[in-house]
Symmetry: D2
Subunit: 361 residues, 4 copies
Amino acid sequence: MASKFGQNLSISVFGQSHGKAIGVEMDGVPAGEPIDMEKLQAFLDRRKPGQGAMTTRRKETDIPEFLSGVQDDVTCGFPICAVIQNSDQHSHDYSNLRTNPRPSHADYTASLRYGEARDMRGGGHFSGRLTAPICVAGGICLQMLERRGIYVGAHLQQVYNVKDEQFPLYPTKELFDEVAARKPATINPEAGAKMEQAIVEASKDLDSVGGIIECAIIGFPAGLGDPMFDGIENRLAQALFGIPAVKGLEFGNGFAGTDLRGSENNDPFILKDGKIATETNHSGGINGGISNGMPIVFRVALKPTSSIAKKQRTVNLETMEETDLIVKGRHDPCVAVRAVPVVEAVAASVVTDILLGTGKF
Amino acid sequence: MASKFGQNLSISVFGQSHGKAIGVEMDGVPAGEPIDMEKLQAFLDRRKPGQGAMTTRRKETDIPEFLSGVQDDVTCGFPICAVIQNSDQHSHDYSNLRTNPRPSHADYTASLRYGEARDMRGGGHFSGRLTAPICVAGGICLQMLERRGIYVGAHLQQVYNVKDEQFPLYPTKELFDEVAARKPATINPEAGAKMEQAIVEASKDLDSVGGIIECAIIGFPAGLGDPMFDGIENRLAQALFGIPAVKGLEFGNGFAGTDLRGSENNDPFILKDGKIATETNHSGGINGGISNGMPIVFRVALKPTSSIAKKQRTVNLETMEETDLIVKGRHDPCVAVRAVPVVEAVAASVVTDILLGTGKF
Amino acid sequence: MASKFGQNLSISVFGQSHGKAIGVEMDGVPAGEPIDMEKLQAFLDRRKPGQGAMTTRRKETDIPEFLSGVQDDVTCGFPICAVIQNSDQHSHDYSNLRTNPRPSHADYTASLRYGEARDMRGGGHFSGRLTAPICVAGGICLQMLERRGIYVGAHLQQVYNVKDEQFPLYPTKELFDEVAARKPATINPEAGAKMEQAIVEASKDLDSVGGIIECAIIGFPAGLGDPMFDGIENRLAQALFGIPAVKGLEFGNGFAGTDLRGSENNDPFILKDGKIATETNHSGGINGGISNGMPIVFRVALKPTSSIAKKQRTVNLETMEETDLIVKGRHDPCVAVRAVPVVEAVAASVVTDILLGTGKF
Amino acid sequence: MASKFGQNLSISVFGQSHGKAIGVEMDGVPAGEPIDMEKLQAFLDRRKPGQGAMTTRRKETDIPEFLSGVQDDVTCGFPICAVIQNSDQHSHDYSNLRTNPRPSHADYTASLRYGEARDMRGGGHFSGRLTAPICVAGGICLQMLERRGIYVGAHLQQVYNVKDEQFPLYPTKELFDEVAARKPATINPEAGAKMEQAIVEASKDLDSVGGIIECAIIGFPAGLGDPMFDGIENRLAQALFGIPAVKGLEFGNGFAGTDLRGSENNDPFILKDGKIATETNHSGGINGGISNGMPIVFRVALKPTSSIAKKQRTVNLETMEETDLIVKGRHDPCVAVRAVPVVEAVAASVVTDILLGTGKF
């Protein structure tokens, strides 16, 4: 199913950018899990637009209303449905995109897939706005994980040609909190400042830039996951490519490991505080699809925002003639900035799903 | 489920490296599809070991026996079960790995996940040998796709620090056939020769090297796939990370697109022979999870073989002391070489699965 | 997943009886399907309570609000979320049921499954009220099926010891419409009058009665469905047992066929208007899980409403002592009456799901 | 997928009656489960044909060979594949059925679904022979359940018009063992003798008879299962309708409960040995889809064998003319007799699947 993922915890996202509401349905959250609504809202606010020059000027209040599954801020074991009303929509900005599809956006493929009835105002169901309900689900999972000593954190490792440091071998909850408090979310604030500069420059040029987000999951028990097609990597991969603009994913050393020798890339087993650990973590915490007790570490590549105000070439779908296109609307010049909590949300959802299947939750 | 994938075509892989047999069960192949058994065998032979200095000296004849679902070399619509008998096993080579896990291999995580009863002789169910049944399934899909004008081809784009050319904007079936005939499978034979040299050198040093495989799917109809979590990227990703040693995946420009600007990375729509196409294919043929009619292009990163003969550090699981490890056995010094047809097999299986769901098969 | 069904069309039901809202999320409805909202409302009204002495005096307006997936009363291809606000709740009626579980209701099992956090006010997620969103989804499917010449109809074949006629060998859309217009929905109005009498008598005695609903699907193409565990019977069965109070299901002759001989129970093939048909339809239109072109016919058994006002024995979960229980609240004396459109809704949803998988939709 | 079921334990059945082999693939069996091969064979022998006048004269040795997932008779946690070679096939008996389909058999629907390539020799994949691999999977589950104090037993409650007693309120393992040792498997041996007589008479008349199998599961923990579409009833129903000839299913009182009043049908809660139980078990151990701690009890209706030697009417698919049909071959005159262990096998598989999802296994 298109807009769902999860085996033990099913997360379904619905809504179009300019429809009545967007939302999420979660089936499988155990009963008795308290939801700290302020903390959830604070998490959602991390992906909120309107945070200065780096993000779109659209206003999205993004306050979820829980229709079911939660009573007195505690889950009751039944499916949770949370809804965010839409507002501040400028649908007229999108009228010409129906015939003149944006390069590298879903406008054209949606016209093929859904035909005349497609609702692509504001990007429809493909809009980055749909990551808000993903964050509602993920924010709930993050709280459930934290109560079990599992923490998920992410940072902007790269924007355009500006690089942040990588996570250390053992990232901590404190580091995650520090990074989350920064705008943009970097380990090194100076890198963040340079990233902001690169974004603002692109924006001035009516252009956009891409980025890489690194994410780590700590405290996840060793020995969970499955071989072959249902390992931790497979399940994270299936879900992470659901975040708009994600075009690449690597675990541990990933692509960088391909020009190493095995003796350089392998992670020797060592004893650390009497327990088995690895000296390095080029495997990203996963061997054979199964967690080895080290932090689970992966990186996602997000392409530059495809909606740019710069003049581009496209084809008019009605006249079937090549034409110029100027995209109006208020788009983020770098989707990676606001995608940091979205990556955390998806990662938290997937590992919660895995944990729920083990009965160890 | 661990060793299965597919929604309309379910492919289940079973077997351990040193068990009686390995095999694959396919549920969902339509009735009336002829299987050219010689062609299938030729495809399987492309991943066969024993092809000179680049691969292991193990012998695997890998001739599948069809127990069900096929009558007179034509599918009858019922589940297909194909079995490959095991032979030429040197199980004693693996006895010390039970207590002394190989760095970056699944030995340790399997001990946590399966306990004493695990059968990890020869790598058990995690062994690269299990890619043979994947190729049986994929080889059948490749034949079904070809009859519908869809072709899948892959090549070694990189081994260690040696790079092959990338696929051109419009790869052809002829190019796929040329590449498939080469050992190793490169576009540029000189790159292949250098790769072989790098592999042989690593092998002499009792070491291994990694690599990158680029794969392209041509002739796939535009307008197929789904948004969010069930797009073509999601489904390929879930399956491709099931290939042993795969640690990274990118579509189109992937990670390289992150340090570009939108105006550079976007693919302008153009008219080509009266039809809509894109000038470049940085999107890898997919927008919003849906095919746009351009070749579907992706790259997978395979880490260097973790089983190397060089001395490594590990921890003895019984004595809980650090110790040295010398891995015996006959391992490929570069798993990427023989993984080229495996990537094709998985890609073919996934797009067949997608096509079967559309009723356009 | 608990509250979901469907492979190509996923239908997820959420909400508790006394929560903010109940609703349904549908993923997989094709784009471009018009929804006749008046017709949908008329269908929902058939399960509405407050229809005289046969049903509860609760008022439920049950007007769905479409939050997503529908634009200008036409589906746009994205997930549909429809919500029905709750109102007219008398939660205090249920306060004693938390410790004193109703016999044969889910009060006790929910206490085990969900613990203290369970929200069982008004029956929680187990309430018959949750059949309203099922009817929203099914009502949309019914309209899609009708446009393809497929019709679904059901009637009360039995209430307590009063029996209606069975459907004829070839039920028609006209018959379905006639039956749907009757209260209760019977083929023979006299049977309906006697049923009403039996229900009213039970109600006066503070008691309840059960019933049997017969359902037929006409116009469904021959040759669809799958063998073994994914046949039409399997898929209908999995979904139909999701209707509260359903405890039995049979296709065609069902249980009655067990004391026949094969020569009596078999359906001889004949020619009818030059096409293959069967002389009788003891198979209920399905052989080997696959439709044979005859009407698909099945019957579901619904137990008497478990919530009765008559004094019953139960155990107090806190004191762990046996005690008497008087159930307050306004319950239907015969759930089968209002379940007729619910059975149609589930049947329509399942066959739509099957059709969508064939690409013949 | 057609020939699969299970969420945490996936069971896939493959093979055609007259193909090379039939078998089963099980994914999800935990590591470290011993398999008592003699006990498994004894279970398989209960469904073996060739047991006197009640069953077919075909010989099926049905000895499974384990290709994977089992080492030294202990599961290793990887997918299990077990294969049974086919033999003693009289394919020529079936040649005329290709054009002249048997009434109420899958011959005709298979011709529509699979076309010319169908392999329906001996009933193909629809054959009752395919219940042998189901019993291999179920027999393994039965052993795993027994080690956890859960037992599954079934008996022939009815054949034609001869009825056996129903299970008592609390069936015991001893009763299950007694019943399993009888031929046919009845509680009351006299009922069994009369059933045999009815079957032999039908057989002499070149005819067949149907039957009802009652099954009970004891020791299953209370509080497991899910509401709506994924309850114990839903999951058993989906799987049980996969047994050839099953046309009806009821839990607890089932259809008999429909002409009772609620006060008669409800199960009052009582204290039994200090624990909560119910005075009667009309609910069949399940409320709201969730186990209540009482035995889980259900009944399946199996139609009379459709393959009878008596002359029947059919239509020749090539000439499209009505014609007479005499079915050759060696068919059971009452499939219910040998289906008793099959029902146990499916029930055991389903509850194992449910238990595995709870982490309480």
